[in-house]
Subunit: 324 residues, 2 copies
C-alpha cells in the first residue's frame, strides 16, 4: 500500500487577479481557479475572495479541503514572512494584514506567505529553468523589474526578508527617474516602462509610426505586445530602444554575476515572454562583455519556463518545506 | 585541570609584505612577525619565506609548532579555497600554487586558504566591528575596492568562491575606466585611484597646489595620506573630489542594501583609515538617500576596527572553523 498522497495549494494574489492552483507532490497542477480581485480590496474582502478561489481550485482538482497539507500565498510588495503578515501592496488595498493566521484559521491548514517575485524564483528553482542549480539570480523585467535569489540552494531573504531588490540597483548615477523615486535604477533603464517612456515621446513626433498606430501617444497603451510587434517589424526607433534596454539588463546581470557568483541567471516576466530568445541573447551578450571573465564563464542564462505558474508553484513549494 | 589551550596562526600574504600572527582561542594576538616578500616571488621562494615568518611569529609568541591547531592563509586575487590553491596573484608571481597542501606537509598542521578581502571581512565579523551581526557587507576602498559578504552568519563565496566583487559593480554605464577594463565600476568611481586620477590632472594645471607640493603630478605619489592632508586643509579641488567619491561609495552601499538587505555595512581599507569618520558619514548619508527606505532603516554603518589584523584574524578563524 502506497503512502498517502500530499496536496499543496499555491495562491498568487496579483494586482488585478487571484489565481489558485492545486498541486501534487511533484508539482503537477491538478486543478485551478482564477478570479478578478474586484473593486472591494480591503483586507476582509480579499480574504473572502481568496477562500472562494481556493475552494473552486479544489473542486476543479477533485481534491477535498481536508486533503491539502499546506497553502502558500504569494503577494506583491513587502511581506513579513516570519509572521505571515502582508505589510503593504502597491496595487491592492491590503495593509498590515495577518493573512497567514486568518486563512489558516478559516481553512484549518498551515499557510505560508511570501513575496511574489521570491515565490516565482523559487518556483523556477524547484520545477522550472532552475532545476539542478544551487546559485541562481532571477530577473523579471515587466512594468517594474523584480529580482529573486537562490543562494546555496535556499531562497535568500536577507536580514528582514527584503533582499533581491535588484531592480533598484543603481547602474547610472543620476540616470533616468525610477518609479521608486531614485535615478538610474536598473528598473528605470531596462523595464517595459523604461522603453514606453521614450516611445510616447517618439510617437508624438512621428518617429515611431508603428507604435503610434497601435497606441497613439498613450503611455498605458504601450504594452509589451505593442513593443514586441514593432520590434519584430523592425521599426528603427523601437529596435534602438529595445537594444538599449537589453544592454542595460545585461549590465545589471553582469553586476549580479560579480557580486553573487551565480551558476544561472533566469530571465522571465512580461517583456521577456513577448520578446523571447533574441532579446535574452542580446542581454546575455552584454552580460558577458561587462562581467568578470573568471566569474561569467560558469554562468548559464535561461528563460523562465513556467510563466505565471512559477509563482503558485513556488508559493506551494515554500509552504510545503516550511510546514515539514 | 583546564582544557588544553588551542593556538591558531593567521598569515597575510600581501603584495609587498608577509605578516604572521599567533592567536589564542579568543583571537588575542600572542606574537607576530612581518617580512618583506622580497624580489624572489615564485611559488617556492614565497613558501620558504612563509615558513620562516610563521616560525618567527611562534618564537615571538612563545608557542611551539606542535601546539598550533590550524593555520589560515589570506592572499590577494582568486583562490580555490576548496582545494587550497592560489590561482593567481596580481602583484606576486604565484600561479596555480597548491599552497595549502605544501605548507601543511611542511609544518604537519591543517592549513586553510582564503582570499584576503573575504578573510578581512570575516575577521571583522568574528572579532571586530561585525560582532553580533549576521548579515554584513564589508567594503574596503583603497587602491582598489574590495568587498566581502557575511550572509546568514556565514562567509558567502558564491558558486565558485568569487562572490563579493562589489568593486566591480557598474554604477555608471559607460562611466570612468576601471582597472579591470570595464567602465563605471564602483572601484573606478570611489577608490583612492579614482580620486588620484583626477588630482594628477588638476595638479598639472595648478588647481590643487597643496597636492602638487607633496606629490607633483605623479600619480603613484598621491597616497591616501596626501589626499587626507589636502582634504583636511580644505583644498577646494580635493574637497570636491573626495565628496564625490564618498557619494559614489554611498551609492554602492545603497545598491548593497537593496540587493543583500544587510544589518551592517563595515567600511575599511587604506583610504578610510586616513579620512576617517567624516568621510564615512558622507558616504552613509548618500547611502540613506539612495537606498530603499524600508531596507536602509535597519542598516548600521561602522568603520572597520581591526586594521591590518582583520585579515590575519579572519584567516585564523576560518582555518579554525574549517578543521573542526
Amino acid at each position: 500500500m502506497g503512502k498517502k498522497q500530499d496536496y499543496f495549494v499555491g495562491v498568487d494574489l496579483g494586482g488585478t487577479k487571484l489565481l489558485a492552483v492545486v498541486f501534487d507532490e511533484a508539482y503537477a497542477p491538478l486543478g485551478r481557479a482564477k478570479e478578478k480581485v474586484g473593486k472591494s480590496r480591503d483586507n476582509e474582502a480579499v480574504l473572502e475572495k481568496m477562500v472562494e478561489v481556493i475552494g473552486d481550485a479544489l473542486d476543479d482538482a477533485g481534491v477535498k479541503r481536508g486533503e491539502i497539507s499546506a497553502i502558500g500565498i504569494a503577494c506583491p510588495g513587502p511581506v513579513d514572512f516570519e509572521n505571515g503578515v502582508v505589510l503593504e501592496t502597491p496595487n491592492l488595498g491590503l495593509e498590515n494584514f495577518p493573512i497567514r493566521d486568518r486563512l489558516s484559521a478559516d481553512l484549518d491548514v498551515p499557510v505560508f506567505l511570501e513575496n511574489d517575485v521570491n515565490a516565482g524564483t523559487y518556483g523556477e528553482y524547484v520545477s522550472g529553468a532552475g532545476r539542478g542549480f544551487r546559485h541562481i539570480v532571477g530577473l523579471f523585467p515587466g512594468t517594474g523589474l523584480g529580482g529573486g535569489l537562490i543562494l546555496d540552494g535556499r531562497l535568500f531573504r536577507g536580514a528582514t526578508g527584503g533582499a533581491g531588490e535588484i531592480g533598484h540597483m543603481i547602474i547610472q548615477v543620476d540616470g533616468r527617474r525610477c518609479g521608486c523615486g531614485q535615478y538610474g535604477c536598473l528598473e528605470a533603464m531596462a523595464s517595459r516602462t523604461a522603453i514606453a517612456k521614450d516611445l510616447v515621446a517618439l510617437s508624438t513626433t512621428g518617429s515611431a509610426p508603428a507604435v503610434y498606430k497601435k497606441a497613439g501617444s498613450d503611455f498605458a497603451a504601450i504594452k509589451s505586445s505593442v513593443i514586441d510587434k514593432a520590434w519584430r517589424d523592425g521599426e528603427p526607433a523601437v529596435v534602438d530602444l529595445v537594444d538599449r534596454a537589453a544592454r542595460h539588463l545585461g549590465i545589471g546581470m553582469a553586476n549580479c554575476v560579480n557580486v553573487f557568483n551565480p551558476e544561472l541567471i533566469i530571465i522571465g516576466g512580461g517583456l521577456v515572454e513577448k520578446l523571447g530568445a533574441p532579446y535574452i541573447e542580446k542581454a546575455e551578450s552584454a552580460m558577458r562583455e561587462h562581467a568578470m571573465g573568471r566569474l561569467v564563464s560558469i554562468v548559464h542564462v535561461k528563460q523562465a519556463e513556467l510563466g505565471d505558474d512559477s509563482t503558485v508553484i513556488g508559493a506551494a513549494a515554500l509552504a510545503r518545506e516550511h510546514q515539514s
